[in-house]
């Protein structure tokens, strides 16, 4: 489903220092697989996600999604993005639109669904994430957990083939993390292809098919959750786990 080959990505900071975010990075994600990427901040996890829908551009290498090289000059990136849902750390809901409008807008203007159809899809998804009763309020009137669940519904409304989560629970109060993780777990069980950048080790252990541990733009260690948490091989992984567990 996703194939990344020899990806390099370097950022230039405002004071003109170069930061290598991805160094010869290669990995793949199969259909219906749930891959969790963990690692210290600045290790390139989020950059990798953002390069998967070209919110950031890679310097070299290639990324192939569903058989299409998404860095090919001839492709329409908007078409690719329709198939990849993204959930952000800071939700990024549209504050001037109601919950329902947030979930229906892209369906109507991008997927060209008519109003009735878009509303039906939206109501179904809002029910699924458990906020049906809030469909006419504005995002500012919702809690962080509720906002993030709306953001998930908004991404799902496009009926994407892949869902990406960029530290989706990092900005939430502790008591709201569970409600968002529950929605993500449901999705995983339904067979959604997911790439999840997170600090939630419980989630990684429970639902991931594979865990990737990154540091300094490279994969340090990669394996099943069980292998990863019980039997890490690398010293860097052991150190990281000892610090967070």
């Amino acid at each position: 489903m996703i194939e990344a080959r020899n990806v390099y990505k370097t950022f230039r900071t405002p004071d003109r220092k170069e930061v290598k975010a991805l160094v010869n990075f290669s990995t793949h994600v199969n259909k219906a697989e749930v891959v969790v990427i963990i690692g210290p901040s600045g290790s390139g996890k989020s950059t990798f996600l953002r390069c998967l829908n070209r919110l950031d551009e890679i310097d070299s290498g290639e990324i192939i999604i569903d058989g299409v090289n998404i860095y090919d000059k001839k492709i329409n990136i908007n078409k690719i993005r329709e198939e990849i849902g993204m959930v952000f750390q800071l939700f990024n809901l549209f504050p001037h639109k109601t919950v329902l409008e947030n979930v229906t807008l892209a369906q109507q203007v991008v997927r060209k669904r008519n109003k009735g159809e878009a509303f039906e899809v939206a109501r179904g998804l809002l029910h699924k994430v458990g906020i049906s009763e809030k469909e006419n309020v504005y995002p500012s009137q919702l809690s962080g957990g509720q906002q993030q669940r709306v953001a998930i519904a908004r991404a799902l409304a496009m009926h994407p083939k892949i869902m990406m989560f960029d530290e989706a629970t990092s900005a939430l109060d502790p008591e709201m993390i569970g409600e968002v993780l529950d929605v993500m777990k449901t999705l995983a069980r339904e067979g959604m292809t997911m790439v999840v950048v997170t600090h939630e080790m419980g989630f990684a252990r429970e639902v991931s098919d594979r865990v990737i541990f990154m540091d300094a733009g490279q994969i340090v260690e990669e394996g099943t959750a069980e292998h990863f948490f019980t039997n890490p091989v690398h010293k860097r992984t052991k150190l990281f786990l000892s610090q967070i567990l």
Binding site: G85, M86, F94, R111, Y138
Partner: protein
């Protein structure tokens, strides 16, 4: 405090200030015979206009005609100013160096030359080439002038929207244009209403400069009426009040819009 109460208080304060000035004036003992009774007929009168149009009926006096023209030219200029400004504001943030350079040149050129000079250039130079009427030339000059300032306000408004909004829109498959139209600009416009209101209030006042190209706006009519009658105080107090009616209405209207849009905050 309700909307009406607040505007009432503002009007009240303004009347007190006007009354005080008037009182001060008369106490200083300037010898001046007031002719306020001549002002109403400069606003409205009943009668015939000329031999061509002899039917007696209610007609607009010269100041009211000027008021209407100023209102018209202001409304047109604000409308085109918003359109030009939006295009320029977006162009200023373009990834194309040429688009960015052109829009920046426009803004710098217009902001750094006097409006009066621009009015003359557009009327005499551009106007004669394109055979523009004085009204068209005046509206064009004011629109182009306002567009430069509005462009900078729009640019600042767009930049003030968190970049996550654009990223979320793009990640849903929206093009840059769609994201601008549905997500970024609506939020930006809501935020820039106060500076826009200030800009358009300035524009209404600046429109008095078009009187130099013989456009019969409020200022022009006032000068004519003054030349005919020498009632300087009465005429210019009235003119100030008429400008105030326009600007104050605009000010109130924008405050109303601001409150209306605040519901999603």
């Amino acid at each position: 405090m309700t909307f009406n109460k607040r505007s009432l208080i503002t009007v009240g304060i303004l009347s007190i200030i006007t009354a005080s000035i008037y009182y001060f004036f008369t106490q200083k003992g300037i010898i001046y015979i007031w002719h306020w009774e001549k002002i109403p007929e400069m606003l409205f009168y009943y009668g015939s206009k000329s031999a061509d149009d002899p039917t007696p009926k209610f007609r607009m006096g010269v100041l009211m005609m000027g008021f209407v023209l100023t209102l018209k030219i202001s409304v047109f200029s604000i409308f085109f100013g918003i359109i030009i400004g939006t295009v320029v504001g977006i162009a200023r943030l373009s990834h194309e160096p040429v688009t960015r350079g052109l829009s920046l040149s426009y803004v710098e050129l217009i902001r750094n030359t006097p409006l009066l000079v621009q009015i003359y250039i557009i009327y005499f130079f551009v106007g004669s080439i394109l055979r523009l009427s004085a009204f068209a030339a005046g509206t064009a000059a004011l629109s182009i002038f306002a567009g430069a300032y509005v462009g900078e306000i729009v640019r600042a408004g767009i930049q003030s929207i968190h970049k996550g909004q654009m990223e979320a829109s793009r990640s849903l498959g929206m093009s840059y244009g769609r994201a601008m139209r549905h997500i970024i600009l609506p939020q930006a416009f809501k935020r820039i209403i106060p500076p826009l209101a200030g800009q358009f209030i300035s524009l209404i006042k600046d429109s008095s400069l078009v009187s130099v190209i013989a456009l019969a706006d409020l200022m022009f009519q006032a000068q004519q009426a003054f030349a005919r009658t020498y009632y300087a105080f009465e005429i210019y107090f009235t003119v100030a009040l008429l400008y105030l009616v326009m600007t104050f209405t605009l000010s109130m209207a924008t405050q109303y819009i601001e409150r209306r849009l605040a519901i999603s905050d």
